[in-house]
């Protein structure tokens, strides 16, 4: 794990190190932090930031593993080969949209509907992108392009919460610790789902672990009146609008929630 991340080390470049150094280590100089032998030292090493990301994402795997298995099973049910299933998990790497697309592919829906539905479900990534972008603004273009690939609900929610609370954290390291872990588990889970997963009976409701993951991220995100109002409104509208085509209810809920959050905040002043 550490090994493949150090490859990215050449990327997030000197500008990152210098901008990070002041907050990063009250106890040490940046030169020591950069030298390769320093990573055996305890405390605030770059490695600690990666480990923190991996550590914080690990309990979520309890929900991600069944999610990935279900994605693999759904791929088989829709008639995909192993290569196609893995291709989808690598190229798309967004579970909810994968499940919706597989369902539609399996029922021979028109291609435009398959693509349109999946795209609408993933449109929320634009909001995540905008929300996390200021934290990544100092990194080079190439690094940002790489970081964007592993942007998921979970990596986003954990990282933004962490960046807000802990300013000394190396952002790209923490984010990749969480994001790359999710990526690896997602790919392995898909393969396992395709190869051996068909035996799990539906009524076990393993897919229910998916909303539970989002719930575990949602509750701490509702930390004051305006954010709580945003959550309640977003959820309520999404439930009422659940019947809309192309999964537009998700977007309707998300936008309503943001508007209600802003209004609540404005009223509190």
């Amino acid at each position: 794990m550490d090994g493949d991340l150090t490859d990215d080390d050449s990327g997030p470049d000197s500008s990152d190190c210098s901008s990070e150094a002041d907050g990063d280590s009250p106890d040490s100089d940046s030169a020591a932090g950069d030298s390769p032998d320093s990573d055996s030292a305890a405390g605030d090493t770059p490695r600690a930031d990666i480990v923190a990301g991996v550590r914080d994402v690990s309990p979520l795997m309890l929900g991600i593993v069944p999610f990935a298995l279900v994605a693999g099973i759904a791929a088989v049910d829709a008639g995909l080969t192993l290569v196609e299933a893995v291709g989808m998990s690598v190229i798309v790497f967004a579970g909810a949209s994968q499940l919706a697309a597989l369902d539609l592919l399996g029922s021979d829906a028109p291609l435009a509907v398959v693509i349109g539905t999946a795209a609408v479900i993933n449109l929320r990534m634009v909001m995540y992108s905008a929300s996390i972008a200021p934290y990544f603004a100092d990194y080079s273009r190439k690094v940002r392009a790489g970081l964007a690939y592993v942007l998921t609900d979970q990596a986003y929610a954990l990282s933004v919460a962490e960046f807000t609370e802990n300013e000394s954290r190396s952002r790209w390291r923490y984010y990749l610790g969480a994001g790359v872990s999710l990526w690896i588990v997602w790919q392995i889970g898909t393969v396992v789902g395709v190869v051996v997963g068909t035996g799990v009976p539906d009524e076990w409701g393993l897919t229910f672990a998916v909303p539970l993951v989002f719930l575990a991220l949602l509750v701490p995100a509702m930390k004051d009146r305006p954010t709580t109002a945003a959550g309640i409104a977003g959820g309520a509208i999404a439930v009422v609008a659940a019947g809309l085509p192309l999964n537009l209810g998700l977007l309707a809920g998300a936008v309503s929630g943001i508007v209600v959050g802003l209004l609540t905040e404005a009223m509190g002043r």
């Binding site: 291609l111 999946a118 905008a130 964007a148 672990a209 539970l212 993951v213």
Partner: protein, 121 residues
Amino acid sequence: MIGSLGWAPDVVSSPRVWVAIVAIGIATYGFRLSFIHLFGRIDEVPESVKRPLRFVPPAVLAALVLPDLVTVGPSVAETLADERLIAGVIAGAVAWRTENVFATITVGMVVLWLFRFVVFA
């Protein structure tokens, strides 16, 4: 090897599937990259843009979760007597009290099974 495991000899890789995968993949990556790319090019993100972004996590996560817990039924009683909603409410309470992800997911699944296989069975 593929044949011996049971899929595939008759399932031929279809262009339809790959077109869908690649198109969805390109769109999704575009969404992910959009503002991460853009905000690197402008110096300071304006306050009017930052303010609504604070509400993205609660609004979007709630819009993802709630439809999986609640399906509006023909009556209030039928809407509420749903093991997913009961499990979700209890798991939500656990999340609120403990802020422990592992406990939230475990309790949610156990309550779901309890109601599905015992109480409502």
